[in-house]
């Protein structure tokens, strides 16, 4: 509908104490390794080398930790997306930049991605709505890029933009299940291959 793709805003980073960060780091690693329900609060405080009192001083609940992880992940993704859009690239280059950037960022923060894909629907209603709204903004913005390319005639219209978006972004969500940081291919190489694959399908 619109002729230009709107740039999503990102929220400002929040300063946090060293203890707070240690707790979040420990929670992130344990959630990624064992899942949210498979991780005990006791396990988190032991890994972070703090006490339970400290954890509940900074966070309201175990769910709170999960939300912080999601929030930082999505905020970063939206910021990256905004940065690419701000460059005003033509659709093909924009899609390539968004996809390679997203893959690189996901590979770099693979634990957050793991937690997200596995436990994304384990939040209470209010936080769930917030996370979903952010995800939807990303989805709609990306689809807008594909639609623009299709309107401009540089992308094939064989596959509907919505399906392209689902498939392309879904591929990235699957990344935690097969990407290994110590594997034979660098993240940059994989990002090129995957983005190239998607663009080839859009030719």
């Amino acid at each position: 509908m619109t002729d230009t793709v709107p740039v999503p805003e990102s929220s400002a980073p929040v300063r946090q104490s060293a203890v707070e960060r240690r707790i979040l780091d420990a929670a992130l690693h344990l959630f990624a390794a064992r899942g949210f329900d498979g991780t005990s609060v006791q396990g988190i405080v032991e890994a972070a080398e703090v006490t339970k009192g400290a954890l509940y001083h900074y966070f309201d609940s175990k769910d709170d930790l999960l939300y912080e992880i999601y929030h930082s992940l999505i905020a970063r993704q939206l910021a990256d997306l905004g940065a690419v859009l701000a460059r005003g690239l033509p659709p093909r280059e924009a899609v390539r930049a968004v996809l390679t950037g997203l893959i690189l960022s996901t590979a770099e923060h693979i634990d957050e991605a793991k937690v997200f894909v596995r436990d994304k629907d384990r939040l209470d209603d209010a936080r769930m709505r917030s996370v979903r709204a952010d995800r939807r903004r990303y989805h709609v913005t990306f689809r807008g890029l594909v639609e623009q390319g299709q309107r401009d005639g540089v992308f094939s219209t064989a596959t509907p933009a919505e399906t392209v978006t689902i498939v392309a972004l879904g591929m990235v969500n699957q990344l935690p299940s097969w990407y290994r940081p110590d594997g034979p291919k660098t993240a940059a190489r994989l990002a090129d291959e995957v983005a190239g694959f998607v663009l080839a399908a859009l030719d």
Copy 2:
């Protein structure tokens, strides 16, 4: 390396009592909805309207239920794959048939797929190895099809066969996160669109 793609065998189905089936059904639905660790054995026996004694009469452990679910899923996928390969189609038609079949089968057994993608690494070592070996057979067989097409010159070699396989099969694994049986598009329609997308990238 090989010139023909070998057909993987499937294992024979096992007969089970009505109580056994009720337990497995309840476990499947609860695991899909709340995850393995988020589901209690008590919850399963209540949903299945049996007692704990009955459950532990038929199954050794909670893990045992999970393995049964995985096993039936993978056995079905390997059987479908074998059926397609047995038709001896040329690579393009074979890839299309495998992908559409896999997507349709995944859509039809969406709960099993949900459980698999979420909790696939929650098994003990022995069962894990068994599951992984089966998955690997599927992966290697599919990659073989892509390689054959690339050798025959009907597929582009722009993206390595391994990456194509990871991306194509990964897309299917993501299906539980976006496919809705009551959505606007039928599973068959989505299967066509997604398979078409992959084949377009292989042109």
